[in-house]
Symmetry: C2
Subunit: 384 residues, 2 copies
């Protein structure tokens, strides 16, 4: 298989983009990424998106977006794995180039979530869960995560306040990210008094919805003649699944698909958790941040919150997470999130993360989760 | 790139499967394909599906189906390209195996279209068109195809009756296919007196909706030790796009994406139209059958209906099409159709097509179309 490099990134702000259709929003990110890559065309375009059929009455996004940006000779398709759609599309783009079938692709994640009524978005998000055995019982997506968090607190003895550092860290980092949805730093006091959404998940445990798009340009690394600072390759990629319904899992407080997918990525890269300089994890809810750290080998089982309370997840800690605000504060336009994470890794590995730069970042990991742990895709990037 | 072989096929009937959820329907096809392949597991599962989010309130189908059939160690995702989703998923599975990333995958197409009200299905189908510039104007999907057919009849001087042989041929072939939605052969008189749907498209120009699922198992050909009659490889694969809105195309009566994608597949296979023994084309509407034959090099421009009227598309003709009933009579569960086509090619290449067997079939082509010509994917299979 050929090595694959990321040579271009683009993103829109995560916001309420009521004046832009989904093709325009995605087009902005694709054109920015192509410009950054210094290219006008690619062989293929893959779209990570979850809910355009329901919320925008629009499928066939691959052809729609490729046509809109003028990539008339590219082939195109949409890839869906619920909130993990972005990384699932990236993995497809990676296969296209590493197989030799294509020399270059653009992968774009896009989601427009604020167009309809909030209740419509909530119902659309529930399609990530098991429609027959979870959603049909009236369980919302946040409700499912609340059950997991409550069980986790019971099993390991953590209090709600122990999850505060995840939210505080994400909000602090988003202040310096011009593309983030929220720019307010918060205190532990803010966290504790936030409105309850689904006990024990309050408003500062949950990531905000939003409209947004992010894109990356992938090429076969052997076609490159770049200076070293721009050579960023995908060193590892892994994908795994678990039961969609949380009650079907033997261990509801363990992300087995995160463990499996990160192990695959580590093995491919010949690396381990100790080699990772920063980790863009999927903090859709603060409980998911804790579970991800544990499943990927950064914390002992049940000890994710300890790592956060020790300050190890901050920019100067042993494993900085959510360095540009994470899902919690950059925002979580679901199908786009997996690509925002990759864009942010590239910013860090290029040394272009501004005040949020992780010193000496050379190896960085992103993990994107679809459903409450059902579809999990991990990527490790490396700067040379 | 490694050569990829198809070693297992499975399908459900196309019908109103009200007693089965979408995971059960897909699971039936996957398990049948695995059994046919003599395997209990694969490395990956790709789902071709268009409308599960809208009609079944269920996304995350990759993990859902893989978990349901017990493929707990496989990775999984859904691929969407409107009514071309099945072949788009196949192409993804092909990349996964040919890249060396995986040794085996199952690709399953599934659609459940009869659960809700017909008006809901009609609205869901319209998401294959341009939501902002076609559907928002009140154009249904059949309405768009009717405009294309009317224009084509005007440009080339064909009458409605000239399209009858497409429908007659498909219905005749479906009689012997136990999996088909419709088993009635029809006459030209039936065709001419059928109820109008969207002038000039009547009920016998249009494919029926339905619930159904079909699956294939792909493996790296170099891992095989099979007797020759079972060795069927994917010799060519091509995918291309066009504008989603038909009015955006310079030539609305020419399927440029069909031309481009078939050329790519021919080039990869080192073959041309003269080498193809049968062609499963995308006759969602009879006009699309005519346009496909022209764009893929089987008929001169504007002369698709002539080929049909000469009887060349019949089982004993120069280029048999819809040999098991096509979309018109086997039925068109949209995201599943592209895989039904592949299953039918394999039946023909194995010599297991019963009364519908095309004598001496060794090279066969399938083409799956998403939208009214926007996303088109072509595959050529070869028996050795």
């Amino acid at each position: 298989m050929r090595e694959v490099a990321i040579i271009g990134i683009g993103q829109t702000t995560v916001d309420e983009h009521w004046s832009k259709s989904i093709r325009e929003l995605a087009g902005d990110a694709v054109l920015a990424a192509l410009k950054d890559a210094g290219r006008s065309t690619v062989d293929g375009l893959y779209v990570g998106n979850m809910m355009s059929g329901i919320l925008s009455k629009q499928e066939n996004l691959g052809a729609l977006i490729a046509d809109w940006v003028g990539l008339h000779d590219a082939e195109a398709a949409k890839v869906e794995a619920a909130c993990g759609s972005g990384a699932a599309a990236l993995r497809t783009g990676l296969m296209a180039v590493s197989s030799g079938l294509m020399d270059s692709v653009v992968v774009v994640g896009v989601e427009k979530m604020t167009e309809g009524l909030p209740v419509e978005t909530t119902a659309a998000l529930a399609t990530a869960a098991d429609a027959d055995y979870e959603a049909a019982q009236g369980l919302s997506f946040v409700g499912i995560n609340a059950l997991v968090m409550r069980r986790y607190m019971y099993e390991y003895g953590w209090k709600h306040a122990d999850f505060a550092p995840f939210s505080i860290n994400a909000h602090a980092n988003a202040v310096n990210n011009p593309y983030a949805r929220l720019h307010e730093s918060i205190t532990e006091k803010d966290y504790l008094k936030a409105r309850m959404v689904a006990d024990p998940i309050n408003l500062l445990d949950a990531s905000p919805t939003g409209d947004g798009s992010a894109a990356v340009v992938l090429v076969a690394a052997d076609t490159l003649k770049l200076n070293a600072s721009r050579r960023i390759t995908i060193a590892g990629s892994g994908s795994a699944i678990d039961s969609v319904a949380v009650h079907d899992r033997i261990q509801p407080t363990w992300l087995s698909a995160a463990e499996k997918s990160s192990r695959k990525a580590y093995a491919q890269a010949g690396l381990g958790p100790q080699d990772i300089n920063l980790f863009e994890l999927h903090d859709a809810f603060s409980i998911m941040a804790a579970l991800s750290l544990e499943a990927c080998g950064f914390a002992e089982r049940g000890q994710g919150p300890r790592l956060a309370n020790e300050g190890q997840i901050r920019l100067n800690g042993s494993i900085p997470v959510c360095t540009m605000g994470g899902l919690k504060a950059r925002g979580h336009p679901v199908g786009a999130t997996g690509i925002y994470q990759i864009v942010e890794l590239v910013e860090q590995l290029r040394g272009e993360a501004g005040p949020n730069q992780v010193d000496g970042a050379r190896i960085a990991m992103a993990q994107n989760i679809g459903g409450s742990g059902a579809s999990i895709i991990t990527h490790i990037l490396k700067a040379s």
